[in-house]
């Protein structure tokens, strides 16, 4: 899994087009300021889902940052529309939902909307840049099924929950079986640790 961004890491977002969706103009300006600080030159700001959909229909959007709390249609439904109703490559566009507060009843919507990340407000540049780096390095498969369209949510690969056999064909059992090969001898272990001269 890609880690946290370090100060010396470089990122080039000059040619990436961002679409920002937030009802509140000041909040929209804050997000735009942060994203512009990251070196993004093309930023489209929308205060409604209707405007955002128009922008997406024209294509050329590479990244979406949408507020969850939008009038008429919320950010989760908007992103579901992106994943289900738009053409490629727009339907695969990396997307982050930003949320001030999640109601208990909205937790499943957040999980199922197809976002790469849900980021809580107040927005911090560090967290947002970390997530953008993460998504840029992300190699998760996209899942398209009846109940969900979006990046694979089971990316941690920690195996199935304890006591279950798992649903994936490649899920390993939680049980540790008996060894199939003899244990390494101490000499073999020492060999693994021994410093070796390498040609660079």
């Amino acid at each position: 899994m890609p880690g946290q961004v370090l100060g010396g890491d470089r990122i080039n977002l000059e040619r990436i087009s961002f679409l920002l969706v937030d009802e509140n103009q000041t909040s929209l300006d804050i997000t735009a300021g942060v994203v512009a600080g990251f070196g993004v030159r093309s930023i489209t700001k929308c205060q409604s889902v209707r405007d955002a959909k128009d922008v997406l229909r024209k294509g050329n959007t590479d990244f979406i940052i949408a507020d969850a709390q939008l009038p008429v249609e919320d950010g989760y439904s908007f992103l579901e529309w992106v994943r289900r109703e738009t053409e490629e490559p727009t339907r695969f566009v990396p997307a982050i939902i930003i949320v001030g507060h999640t109601k208990m009843g909205d937790v499943f919507k957040a999980r199922d909307c197809g976002a790469h990340f849900i980021v809580t407000k107040p927005l911090t540049p560090r967290v947002l840049l970390d997530r953008i780096f993460w998504v840029a390095r992300d190699e998760r498969l996209f899942i398209d099924c009846e109940t969900y369209v979006g990046p694979d949510r089971r990316f941690k690969r920690l195996g199935p929950p304890v006591g279950t056999s798992g649903r994936r064909a490649d899920d390993l059992s939680g049980k540790v079986g008996s060894a199939k090969e003899p244990n390494l001898s101490q000499d073999e272990i020492n060999d693994l640790m021994r410093p070796a001269k390498v040609q660079l």
């Binding site: 961004v5 370090l6 909040s27 804050i30 300021g33 942060v34 490559p89 507060h101 009843g105 407000k121």
Partner: protein, 164 residues
Amino acid sequence: MIPAKKIKVRTRLSTLAFTGGGIMAKDALKRADTAIDGMRGPSLAAIDEMMAQMDARFGPAAAGREAEPVDDLYILASGIISLSACVRDSGLDQGAKALCDLVDLSEQMEVWDWEAVDVHLSTLRMLRAAGEAMTPHERGAVIDGLIKVTRKRIGDPKTLAQST
């Protein structure tokens, strides 16, 4: 049931983000922080406007506050969280989050307590006025107090999670 399709996707972001050029992360963060600092004035003005709306519609002196849609109180509190990026050291975001929790839990438990709302609103005013001058410990104690008020007057969210 239709089997799930698994699609390997290479986005323009993945292709272009590491093509050389660009800027170092530390510089990007510095520029973004500067942008947030530059939004402090408009953010505070918008927060003040939202708090004034809260008081006018949901405060103790608001006549007919019982008739106001409580979802609007939630939206206003959530808006304060959004705008508090430039006043992170005031505790305002956490106070507003506590108010969102109160409204959300009240709706779930079907219990409403105006005194709990009043405590949250007056605490938000206090955090707006003096939160940045407080120590993290003091702010933490204030937020803990709000959480206790919600638990005492409305209930414990854990019991709700267990019952659903």
